[in-house]
């Protein structure tokens, strides 16, 4: 081939490198698949890798305690909110980044959950069931339901503060144009609020539907004035961070519809939920990224989105699964996003930090910088002092079980944007013997 022909081919490749086209990508993947198997030749090099040893047993026991505490904290504490109701425990397994008002939850399949049933977390109203999965195929499996949060633009719930009755639903307009509001919008306010500002659900079956009255008495937040230019309106300061502040919820139903027994079992370390996988190397060729290449693909049961771990430690998520090889995007890879739980001293249950964004690692790779938006609800919870915390994965992303260890970090004080400095025990040296999570149904569409 002449130089001009090669230059033309290169120009086409350059365009495709910057602007991928699905079909061409799949073809290129297929062509490169045999070459990826050459990585097996490097496996003996892993003998020279020194891998940090972790105390598996102790940390797994701590995680199990933490997850049980999380479930218990999600149960309503007020006895009057439990009376004459059945409570079905459910876990958030999918939280869309694009549509934050919809989440997918998993509940015991034998429970009779129906659309319209209220969903709560502790004493706080979260939203209602929108759709329930019926078959093993489709977007929702049996035992899964889509929940519409009260922050959704067309969500409505009756509420009462003292004698004042009103309707709440959706988000209030931001005080500054272009800003993101987190306050709930007040609708149909008939008179000026009095001294009583704490809002609780007050539903009428005729208006809210058959199941709506089950949420009667659950908390929504506090009525606060909202200045919009020269106009004064009212909004609700929520108790819960709806954008990522919960992962365990309860669906309210009539007592006879709730299954008897324990909370939904969740053990992230159940051996049956993991398969061993091998990475070609314990390193990578590009210094700015943190990825791994696995010698196993969809033929060995690996799926895109599945977590990869080394013992109780989180390594990353499978970003692409070919037939016989897969790529893993690790926590230290810039642009990596993950829902995070924090365990702080002197607190029984974990805190939900929401989604963090990786900004990359330091030179030694033992520190990972994470961009984090601290919610007002969490800032109130943390108080006036920075707290050191152990960080774990949270449920809310298909394929990633809660409780995988990330590292330790100092949680700063104050609402707003922060950069967390995460200290990893293994400094990004995970070795080549890893495990991939296969414990739940994967590949569901965005909620």
């Amino acid at each position: 081939m002449g130089r001009s022909t090669i230059v033309v081919i290169w120009l086409a490749l350059a365009a495709l490198a910057f602007r991928p086209i699905g079909l061409v990508e799949r073809l290129a993947d297929l062509c490169f698949e045999p070459a990826r198997q050459l990585g097996r030749i490097a496996l003996p090099l892993s003998w020279f890798s020194s891998v940090h040893a972790s105390s598996d047993g102790e940390s797994r026991a701590r995680v199990r305690e933490l997850l049980i505490a999380e479930q218990q904290e999600a149960q309503p504490a007020d006895a009057s909110l439990v009376a004459r109701r059945g409570l079905v425990h459910a876990q958030v397994i999918d939280r869309s980044q694009e549509r934050a008002d919809l989440v997918v939850v998993r509940f015991p399949p034998e429970a009779s959950v129906l659309p319209g049933m209220p969903v709560v977390c502790g004493d706080v109203y979260v939203g209602s069931v929108l759709e329930v999965g019926r078959a093993a195929s489709g977007a929702l499996a049996r035992g899964e339901a889509r929940v519409e949060l009260v922050t959704a633009s067309h969500a409505r719930v009756g509420a009462r503060a003292g004698e004042l009755e009103l309707v709440v639903g959706g988000l209030a307009r931001a005080e500054h144009s272009g800003g993101h509001s987190r306050l709930l919008a007040v609708r149909a306010l008939q008179s000026t609020p009095g001294a009583e500002r704490e809002l609780r659900v007050h539903e009428d079956a005729a208006a809210g539907g058959e199941w709506s009255t089950l949420a009667e008495g659950y908390r929504l937040g506090t009525l606060v004035p909202l200045e919009l230019g020269t106009r004064r309106a009212w909004a609700v300061e929520p108790v819960l961070d709806y954008s990522g502040g919960f992962s365990q919820v309860f669906v309210l139903c009539p007592p006879e519809r709730a299954p008897a027994g324990e909370l939904l079992a969740q053990d992230p370390f159940d051996a049956a939920a993991w398969i061993p996988v091998r990475a070609t190397l314990d390193g990578m060729l590009s210094p700015w990224s943190e990825t791994r290449q696995l010698l196993g693909g969809s033929r060995t049961g690996l799926r895109e989105g599945a977590a990869v771990a080394r013992g109780p430690e989180f390594v990353g998520r499978i970003s692409h699964a070919g037939l016989f090889s897969s790529e893993v995007e690790c926590l230290g890879n810039p642009g990596f996003r993950l829902l995070v739980l924090a365990s702080v001293e002197d607190r029984y249950g974990p805190l939900h930090l929401g989604r963090v964004l990786s900004l990359g690692c330091d030179v030694s790779r033992s520190l990972v910088y994470l961009a984090w938006e601290e919610s007002a609800e969490l800032a109130r919870e943390l108080g006036q002092h920075a707290r050191s915390a152990q960080l774990y994965t949270s449920s809310g992303e298909r394929g990633i079980p809660p409780g995988l260890y990330l590292g330790s970090a100092e949680l700063p004080v104050g609402e707003g944007a922060h950069t967390l400095v995460l200290r990893r025990p293994a400094a990004g040296r995970f070795g080549t013997a890893l495990e991939a999570w296969t414990g739940e149904r994967l590949g569901g569409e965005e909620p």
């Binding site: 081939m1 130089r3 090669i6 230059v7 081919i9 290169w10 490749l13 350059a14 495709l16 490198a17 910057f18 602007r19 991928p20 061409v24 990508e25 290129a28 993947d29 062509c31 490169f32 070459a35 990826r36 198997q37 050459l38 990585g39 030749i41 490097a42 090099l45 020279f48 890798s49 070609t280 190397l281 314990d282 390193g283 990578m284 060729l285 590009s286 210094p287 700015w288 990224s289 990825t291 791994r292 290449q293 970003s319 692409h320 790529e327 893993v328 810039p334 642009g335 990596f336 964004l357 990786s358 900004l359 990359g360 030179v363 030694s364 790779r365 961009a371 400094a427 990004g428 040296r429």
Partner: protein, 175 residues
């Protein structure tokens, strides 16, 4: 292509495999910020002495072997390494890269360009996928350090790398 040349290509692939594997294994932690691009230095060393018509084969072969250890998408690696081969050929026709110092300088330039290309292509793909480049910062310093260390390696060991066993049928020029 005769049997001897075919064998030479296989040997070149095997040497590339060794170089990329060693690089992936030892460029960990802090070392990753300056460890030379062994595979690219070998490719550069051979391209400097190769027939121009063979350059694209060397680029494609390097992309295939590199994909065994790197998770960048195939087309990014292919365009990056084919571009690298084209750049070396273009510079070789106008500069005398057999001179040690010039060889080092050209290696620094070409390797920096190739690594930067791969980074930019990955950024572009992330942008198309997520609509944002949050978290990405141009790693100019690490890439410059890696290019410099690779340049030093090309300066010191370039001729030796081109003389690795099995590669003689692919060499056509002297340093």
């Amino acid at each position: 292509m005769n049997g001897e040349r075919r064998l030479a290509w296989v040997a070149f692939g095997a040497w590339l495999l060794v170089c990329f594997a060693l690089q992936g294994q030892f460029a960990r932690g802090g070392t990753a910020m300056w460890f030379p691009e062994l595979g690219l230095v070998l490719l550069f060393s051979l391209l400097a002495r190769m027939e121009e018509r063979d350059a694209w084969i060397a680029g494609v072969l390097a992309a295939l072997v590199r994909s065994a250890f790197s998770s960048e998408p195939p087309l990014v690696q292919l365009s990056g390494l084919l571009g690298f081969a084209l750049l070396v050929m273009a510079l070789r026709s106008s500069l005398e890269i057999s001179a040690p110092l010039l060889r080092g300088v050209v290696a620094v330039l070409c390797i920096f360009a190739c690594d930067l290309w791969i980074f930019l292509a990955c950024c572009a793909r992330t942008y198309w996928a997520h609509g944002s480049l949050a978290g990405f910062e141009p790693p100019v310093l690490p890439l410059a350090l890696i290019a410099l260390s690779s340049g030093v390696l090309a300066l010191v060991a370039g001729p030796l790398l081109a003389q690795l066993p099995g590669l003689s049928p692919l060499r056509s020029r002297r340093w």
